[in-house]
Every structure is written in C-alpha cells, then in structure tokens.
Amino acid sequence: MNNKSGKAISAVVRYLLLIAVSAVILVPFYWMITTSLKDQTKVFEFPMRILPSPAVWGNYAEVFEAQPDFLLHYWNSFYIAVVVTVGTCLFAAIAGFAFAKIKFPLRSVWFLVLLSGMMIPAEVTTIPNFIWFSKLQLADTHFPLIVPPMLGAGGIFGVFLLRQFFITVPNELDEAAEIDGCSPWTTFWRIMVPLAAPAFATLSIFTFLNSWEDFLDPMIYISSSDLFTLPIAMKLFTDTAGTAWHLLMAASVMATLPLLLVFFFAQRKFIDGIATTGLK
C-alpha cells in the first residue's frame, strides 16, 4: 500500500467515490434548473433534452403573474425566520447568561426543568397548542409560527448552547464588572454578547433553517393563502387543472437561491460553527 502506484490508485478511487456522491446530490438541482427553463408544453418532452432549448427565462417572470402573492409568501417566510432567529438569540442568551453567571435560588432546579423541555417533541404539543390558538382566534395568523418556536423547544436548545458558552467565559471578567458596579444587564449586554458572536452565529443558522423550512406548523395553522410561507405556497402551483411544473421549479429555484448564496459566501463560518458547537 505504501508504494507510489498504490497511492495513485487510492486517490483515483477516492475521487470517483466523491464524484459519484456529488453527482447524485446535484441531480435535483440540475432537474430543477432545467425544468424551470422549459416551455410549458416541453416539460414532459420525450425523449428529454440535456438542456432546454430554447431556454424560457420568462418562466421566472410568469411565476409572479400566476402567483401574484409569491413575493408576499417570500416576505412572510423571511420575516418570520428573522424574527424567530433574533428572538431566540435574545431570549436564549439572557436565560443562558443567567444560568451560567448569575447566582439565584434554585438555579440548577430551574435549569433542569427547562432542559426537560428538550425531550418533548414539538409534534406532540401541536394538538393542544392548535386547540388553544384556535380558541384565541390566533390559528390563522403568524403567531403560532413565531412565538412557540422562539420560546419552545428551539429556544431551549439555544439556552443550553449559550449557557455552555457562557460557562467557558472566565469568571474574573464578570466579577470585575460587578465590582465596577455594572448591573447584570450591562455585564450581559456589553461584555457577554460581543464575546458570544460565534455561538450566536451557530444558533442563528440552526434557528433560521428550522423556521425557513418548517412545513408542519404552517400546514396546521395557516388557512388563508396570503399568510402562506414558502413551503406551503409551493402547493399553489398545483390546482385542479394539474401542476405547472415549469413554474413550480422556477419558484423552487428562487426559494432556494438566496440561502445557497449566503451559504457559499459564508460556508467556512457556517460549517465550522456547526462542527464546533453542533454536538459537543
């Protein structure tokens, strides 16, 4: 194994395996993009072409004609994910800070109580939550998509993650601040928050992704199409006359692209964040 040709062969095998897996993963992206550029009547062309010809870029504009609310759905998804992310970071951080740095009675008891929430699957709580939100006439609103994820299981994960982080901050730092007369809030806001940037980055990624691709909650809660988020808005491209595949794929490309671009530009931080804080 240690001779040169052996190394060359193992490198070739290595690359072949990687290329095979990557190719399979790129298949849906290829199919999504090519279909989004096909003429409606050519969507089921048989035999298929490798690349659509001519490429119908107008499909992208047509998405907004066929679904004038598409931009609104986009906005709904975006603002909900942003609010959930910012809210989770804020509330998880103050709680995580309190559990890590402030001494108060029954601290560890409360922490354990809160942690027990992590073993409750959100799927099990949807039924009571749904009944209550319906009674409060909050069912067909964005409230259930924002507040329970922020202060429920997702938020608790954030508390856990940030508490772990704050514990690693040397006590001398906040003790010194306390002696200087800083209130816990000032210590938190001026000393801890800037230090926690990497932990916030990781938590934001998880939270944003979860909210962005949430399917079950909007399926359950949202009735009116103007309140739809992107995942459930996709079904509007299917009606009793069939599915407009070319438009559905164009919409899918548009729904996927921004996140992909952000990822491509920030992938080092993205992946490192998940790798270092994800599970340890």
Binding site: M1, A11, R14, L17, L18, V21, V24, I25, V27, P28, W31, M32, F44, F46, P47, F91, A92, I94, A95, A98, I102, K103, F104, P105, V113, L114, G117, M119, I120, E123, V124, T125, I127, P128, F130, I131, P148, L151, G152, G155, V159, P184, F188, W212, F215, L216, M219, L230, P231, M234, M249, A255, T256, L259, L260, Q267, A275, T276, L279, K280
Partner: protein, 299 residues
C-alpha cells in the same frame, strides 16, 4: 464588601436571574409543559373539533393496542424508515468525512456540494425528487428508458417507495453529519497516526485502533440525534407520497397529522402522539446517560 451590600447584591442578582430566565420559562410552561399535560388528558377523551367531547377512559389506548392495525403498520413503517436511514446516513457521512479528511485538491468543493442540501428547504428538496422519480416523465425513468430499460413506478410500488424516501432523506442530511465527523476527525492528534505508521500499522488497523475509538462519542451522539429526528419524519412523506401507496409510507407524525387535522379525532391522535413522546423520551434518556459517561471518559 460589607455584609449588608453583599446581601443587597444577592437580592438584586436573584431578581435579575428570575427576570432573565422568565421569558424562556414562560414559553416552556405555555408551549411545552401545559400542552403535554393537556395532550395526556386529551388522550383519554374523544375530543373532536366537530362535536362535544366526553371522557372515554383508556379506550383510545385499547384501540391503539388491539384494534388499530393501521397504527401498528405505521409504527412498523416508522421503524423501517429509521432502520434504513441510520446506517445509510451515518455510514455515508463517516465514509465521506474520512475521504475528505485529507488535504487533497478539490476537497473544499466536494464538502460544499455535499453540504448544499442541508441549506435547501426540505419541501423543495422533496418536490424535486418526487419529480425525478415520477413514473414516465421523471428524470430517472427517462434515463433508464434511454438505456432501453422500462423503469418502475417508483412511488407507486409498495416495495420501492420507502427505500426511495430513505435515500432522499439521507441525501438531505448527510452533509450535516459529515461535517460533525470531520470536526471530530480533526481533533484526533496527528502524532497518534505518526506513531502508528512508524510501528508499521496498516491503514485499516489505524482506523480501528485510533480513529474509531477517538470519534466514538461523536458517533453515538449523532446516532441518537439522527434517530430521534427520523422518528419525527413528516415533510418528505407529506410531499412525496401522502403516506401511500396504500399505507406503505404512513409514519407516526403523518398518522397523527391525518387523525388530528383531516378527521379531527384529537383524542385518539393525542394517544398516538404519546407513543411518539415515549419513544423520544426513552432515546433522550439513553442519550443523556451516554453523554455523562463519555464526558467522564474524556476526562
């Protein structure tokens, strides 16, 4: 510091402590604790949105155990999904991590590609794959047709449909576990391998005696988390198969969804939801035990 100021400080800190944890505690009680208690209560009623409800004792659980063949099929399908997903996902993730752990040209590119599905919405991912697996017009069957093979109706074949859903789910998340394994691999001190190489240990031997023991904590924690996630599978099923054909891909969350929001049988749906709750509870307890043991082991 005098005693008086110190006790004043303590009181102030206690006040701040409770203030800071209050939003999360409130959320915990409102959106997790109270619902779980209420759901437990509901599971002993025939509560429905459409008519008044009454207490039915353990009827829902009796129905679950002895009358509802569909529930057992659903549970079986869920476990089938997990059993298929776990080895594929973890095996592939580990293999990819090992392949990418060496600094070779192009590894950055492959890592990016394999991670891309993680940042793609699961619904979009499932929609496109459904279309790839479509019977006649689907990409896969078109490719097979060009080779002279008539492809099967992938999503309308009781034997093929679950493997298809499993593969699609593995590809979506494999990048996440790969990255975690990569990080674990990079934490293994290089000198161990150097020493082993000097001793003449083979690659396989090095993997078994150094790599595997060193990454075991990551491996097991990833396993439990992926397993819990797989028990809660919903989106790809709802998008790709609607539980079908027949009941071949009915899984727990999909069944709960059907019971609760299609036929509004909230009472029975809550009983089924509690099965999921206990499964997850069990796994979480296992995970915590493992975690404390390994933290200890690492020290």
């Amino acid at each position: 510091m005098s005693n008086a100021t110190s006790s004043k400080l303590r009181r102030r800190n206690a006040w701040y402590g409770y203030l800071f944890i209050s939003p999360m505690m409130l959320g915990f009680f409102l959106f997790l604790a109270a619902p779980i208690v209420y759901a437990f209560g509901l599971s002993f009623t025939d509560y429905s949105l459409l008519h008044p409800s009454s207490f039915v004792g353990g009827d829902n659980y009796a129905r679950l155990v002895s009358e509802d063949a569909q529930f057992w099929r659903t549970l079986g399908n869920t476990l089938y999904f997990s059993a298929g997903l776990i080895p594929l996902n973890l095996g592939l993730a580990l293999a990819l991590a090992l392949l990418l752990n060496q600094k070779l040209p192009g590894t950055g590119f492959f890592r990016t590609v394999i991670f891309t599905p993680v940042v793609t919405s699961i619904v979009v991912w499932a929609i496109v794959w459904k279309y790839v697996f479509a019977t006649d017009a689907g990409l896969l069957n078109q490719i097979l047709a060009s080779l002279g093979i008539e492809g099967p109706a992938w999503l309308y074949d009781t034997a093929l449909v679950m493997p298809v859903v499993i593969v699609v789910s593995v590809l979506k998340k494999v990048g996440m576990n790969m990255v975690i394994f990569l990080a674990a691999l990079q934490d293994v001190p290089k000198m161990y391998y150097e020493a082993a190489t000097i001793d003449g240990a083979s690659r396989w031997r090095q993997f078994r005696s150094i790599t595997l023991p060193m990454i075991t904590p990551s491996l097991f924690l990833t396993l439990v988390i992926t397993l819990i996630g797989s028990l809660k599978v919903f989106s790809q099923i709802a998008v790709m198969t609607d539980g079908g054909p027949g009941t071949s891909t009915y899984v727990l969350v999909y069944y709960i969804y059907q019971l609760a929001y299609k036929v509004f049988d909230f009472g029975y749906a809550s009983a089924v939801a509690f099965v999921l709750f206990f499964l997850v509870l069990l796994l979480t307890v296992v995970q915590w035990n493992l975690r404390t043991r390994w933290v200890h082991h690492e020290q």
